[in-house]
Symmetry: C2
Subunit: 379 residues, 2 copies
């Protein structure tokens, strides 16, 4: 008997009451109960987004909200800056290019985070840039970007700051209103502890003003329709009602914990994981690691893909491997969503046993001990 | 104690094993099990689509697959025919217009079905039309369109036939390959007995050839990416994995029944419902009614909205009302998906009691009797 545990940066484990909410007989999405549910969910999302702006939702993966941000905010002749430090920064670039938007890329070595000075220099050179597309946590590398610093640049300029918080929302801090971030997009299957299939976007007034000037084609991802419907507890198209029911359960947990505490919990889990990994003699891949996940650089004698399969099949523990150029070279352990200290102990101890199983010597127990030291200190 | 029963044309009731499949601990979408699940689901969908063409899936409402069809098949200078006989025909038109495509509309009175001769005349006048966008069952009116006749026109011409089978798939016959339909789109929450959040498209070779000429912007709804990934049991973006698990359960039922039997069952339920409605002195709104749902024209003394609320709150039975210009004027009873003869008896008998409750005299039991006569004959 092996219990399966997911340490992937999405989907993340779902709390039991959210699982059971999905198993209830399905409701009509135009019922009074559905209207109340949608309004409640959208109100509670504001707390998680740390904003007074309305949050809108779409039935899609997070990429749908990213595409929506491009298609709703930009016009044909616009020029944008895209920060590319991994697969998801590249995705912003691909979407903009698909819509014929001129992209000024800032390419950052994978694992590093963008230097705000580099962004400022490019902005000064191109003051007519309509928007900067950035990533809070670059999930492919585990690197956290300094969104507060970027917002400091954009909020005194006409340029919009659009942040992909797909994986990091509720795990890493993102104070939309306090920092002056214009657009935040995210989705259900990460920090929000809900299965994949819902995406979200929050826009401030500057962003809504840009929407009125957009001439790019859009229909299903039309933010104005989604926003207006949402205010009335309605939807333009049949939404994923079972996922909304699960989301409500998850948001009840998050609101009870409080977003500041939720972020602090993720930070504690992340610090413990990093400490454990270092105690085992490994190095972190990200220079400024996020709370969302920990990326571990593998020595060349370890076959990353085979190791991840072994961990899943033998220890029931699913980590994520590297993507694109990092395939086989890193292991990514997410401590994201419905996760507590015991989960981190399991993730680390299994990592130790797995390494022993492939003949890679580490001081057995050193990782777990280091993690426990952090938890003891923090409590 | 009131049991809630959904007779809406989406979402439709979910079989219990599909509900419970969603309550299982969530799986990683890149696991071997997920690969097997995706391949299995896509294979079984071919049976339901009555095609040897590959079926692709998207995480979105059905409208996402409709938009995908427009964005993937067409190029900027294309001209298309859209058959508009209700809200969903109009949606094709709205999507095409959003992408700057020239639309030649064929407007049909709501409740009626298109005359193939009218389509042929317009095609002859405009032989350069790239595609015809049609609807199998116009859900807003309950009207069935003669897709076989339309396919007879397009398969001997370069024009593509794109069919919205969102509500009618598995309920009304649509022989994609035998009739020569080029593109069929549908979604999860209707005949497929799965919650909303998944959309599907099947394209034949002629349609794939058109995709290579398309220059409209697309990213999330890129059919080639979805198609190629699906063949490998993969996805370009995190899919709604809980909904895929439910879909597999539902498809197991559909494949065990066999699509021809499934359509025959829906026909039997529809014939019984129509017979019952007529026996109660009401008339059908649709001239050529679909198996998917029955639209009932209400006499002016009945307030449709109040009646639907009464039915839901007092009898636990949720019908759908009229949309747009039909608001308050019709009642729509779906007999769609996980439905059997007993469900129809419940829908009809509650209808009879509801009418009595509002003081509208009908011969109590006449509807149920008429339905039973049909079921007896058919068995």
């Amino acid at each position: 008997m092996i219990k399966k545990l997911l340490f992937t940066p999405g989907p993340t484990p779902i709390p039991p009451e959210a699982l059971l909410a999905m198993a209830q007989p399905i409701d009509y999405h135009r019922s009074d109960a559905a209207v109340t549910l949608i309004k409640d969910v959208l109100e509670k999302l504001k707390h998680v987004f740390q904003t007074e702006n309305d949050v809108l939702f779409l039935t899609s993966s997070g990429t749908g909200a990213m595409e929506g941000a491009v298609a709703n905010l930009l016009a044909r002749e616009d020029k944008v800056i895209v920060i590319r430090s991994g697969k998801f920064g590249e995705r912003w670039s691909e979407i903009c290019t698909a819509y014929g938007i001129e992209v000024l890329p800032i390419d950052v070595t994978w694992g590093a985070s963008v230097e705000p000075e580099a962004v400022e220099a490019l902005l000064t050179e191109h003051p007519d840039v309509k928007a900067i597309f950035a990533t809070l946590c670059e999930t492919s590398t585990g690197a956290l970007h300094d969104i507060e610093a970027l917002a400091g640049l954009t909020r005194v300029r006409p340029t919009l700051l659009v942040v992909d918080a797909v994986s990091a929302l509720a795990a890493d801090d993102l104070q939309m209103d306090n920092w002056g971030v214009d657009v935040v997009v995210s989705c259900s299957q990460k920090g929000l502890m809900t299965p994949p299939g819902l995406a979200f976007a929050a826009l401030n007034q500057r962003a809504w003003d840009a929407v009125t000037c957009s001439d790019l084609p859009k229909y299903y991802f039309d933010f104005r329709k989604a926003h207006q419907s949402g205010l009335e507890g309605s939807v333009p198209y049949t939404p994923a009602v079972t996922l909304l029911a699960a989301l409500q359960c998850a948001l009840n947990r998050l609101c009870a914990e409080g977003i500041r505490n939720t972020i602090a919990r993720h930070n504690r889990l992340a610090v413990a994981t990093r400490s454990a990994i270092k105690a085992l003699g490994f190095s972190l891949f990200a220079a400024s690691p996020a709370n969302t996940l920990t990326s571990i650089r593998l020595p060349s004698e370890i076959d990353g893909k085979a190791f991840i399969n072994l961990m899943r099949d033998t220890y029931g523990v699913t980590y994520a491997g590297g993507q694109s150029q990092l395939s086989g070279k890193i292991v990514r352990i997410a401590h994201l969503g419905w996760m507590d200290e015991n989960d981190v102990v399991v993730a680390i101890s299994a990592f130790e046993r797995g390494l022993h199983a492939i003949g890679y010597e580490v001081p057995l127990g050193a990782g777990v001990t280091a993690a426990q030291e952090v938890f003891r200190k923090e409590n």
